[in-house]
Symmetry: C2
Subunit: 201 residues, 2 copies
């Protein structure tokens, strides 16, 4: 157990930190000891940042990403291209694409992927909302940018079927060798996709 | 910057998490998004664990480790061997040794290592306190368990000199190949030490 020999308050923090993804008991102990060495004000600041998170942040009623305003700054930005909608799984994907700075359209966050085994069907995702959003608007293209995992691919296939009756272009982000990656380290599935999706040079 | 496109409350938490060791902007964003997906009560609990840490935990006036009581449970444990003192750099070292469950003596936490370049001399560490603690007690052995880094070694050498006039056994924890480690991955310094410190089989 994490708490062996630890002062209770430290053991409690270690236990709580262990609930974060990718943080095991060893890292949690290291982080907790580090926080203990901080000036108290710095620890209080971190605690407040965590405590105020849920209060400050809600979900945009247009695109369903995390936001402090509704609609979110992206949906509200009149300079963005309203004819292209990029469909992603989670708010973290919006953040990643925005950071890359390569997309000027709008987003639609599904809030997950289809995962029948976990009881997540189309009704659990923002799919009806997507269809409603597309209908009667001047959207010309939908880029399906779900992950290239089995579930992400299945979700993309399902979306394509649902959206096909609507008169618009449906595209899928490309799969292939990541930039800067040595070809020999790519897995077989990625290599297969990269070869299939080869472009003329 | 971490905050590109992030809602301010999320950006603030990412910035605060980045101050933790080994957590870069990418991990911080991932952790913050994960906390946001938690039920609010769980986030509040983590925040409280962090906020209450400094209040709950002080420093043992005997051995200088982190503790909620003074003296700490280890110094207070009458079943421990009071004739052996294990000198370590930080409270985290006490936790690691206690977890290994292989030592039944008492500890002395130096609260750092000698680092003249950073202005940390003997007076900044609990060295005078160590000497005072040893004098007039029935301590028979001092195990110097500072790290096998350059600074840890220098601190060990300094302590040996300071403690030599007192009539007790001074030992140093062994350096060598870590258990379970493939020899070919050990660095040259470790191999050198492991060979020098070889024991008869």
């Amino acid at each position: 157990m994490a708490s062996t020999g630890l002062p209770p308050a430290l053991a409690r923090l270690v236990r709580d930190l262990c609930m974060l993804p990718g943080i095991g008991e060893k890292s949690a102990t290291r982080l907790a000891l580090h926080i203990l060495r901080w000036p108290r004000a710095k620890a209080t600041e971190l605690a407040e940042s965590i405590a105020s998170l849920h209060e400050a942040i809600g979900i945009c009623s247009e695109c369903y990403t995390f936001s402090e305003q509704d609609p979110c700054p992206i949906c509200n930005d009149q300079k963005r291209d309203r004819s292209v909608l990029c469909v992603v799984e989670e708010p973290g994907d919006v953040i990643a694409i925005e950071k890359a700075g390569c997309f000027r359209g709008l987003y639609h966050v599904l809030q997950g992927v289809l995962a029948p085994a976990d009881g997540i069907g189309p009704d659990e995702l923002k799919i009806a909302e997507l269809v409603r959003r597309v209908q009667g608007r001047k959207i010309q293209e939908i880029i399906i940018a779900t992950s290239s995992t089995a579930q992400g691919e299945a979700t993309a296939a399902y979306l394509t079927e649902i959206l096909r009756p609507l008169d618009l272009q449906i595209t899928r982000i490309a799969c292939g060798i990541p930039m800067g990656m040595d070809l020999k380290y790519a897995d077989a599935q990625t290599l297969k996709r990269a070869l299939e999706s080869r472009t003329t040079y």
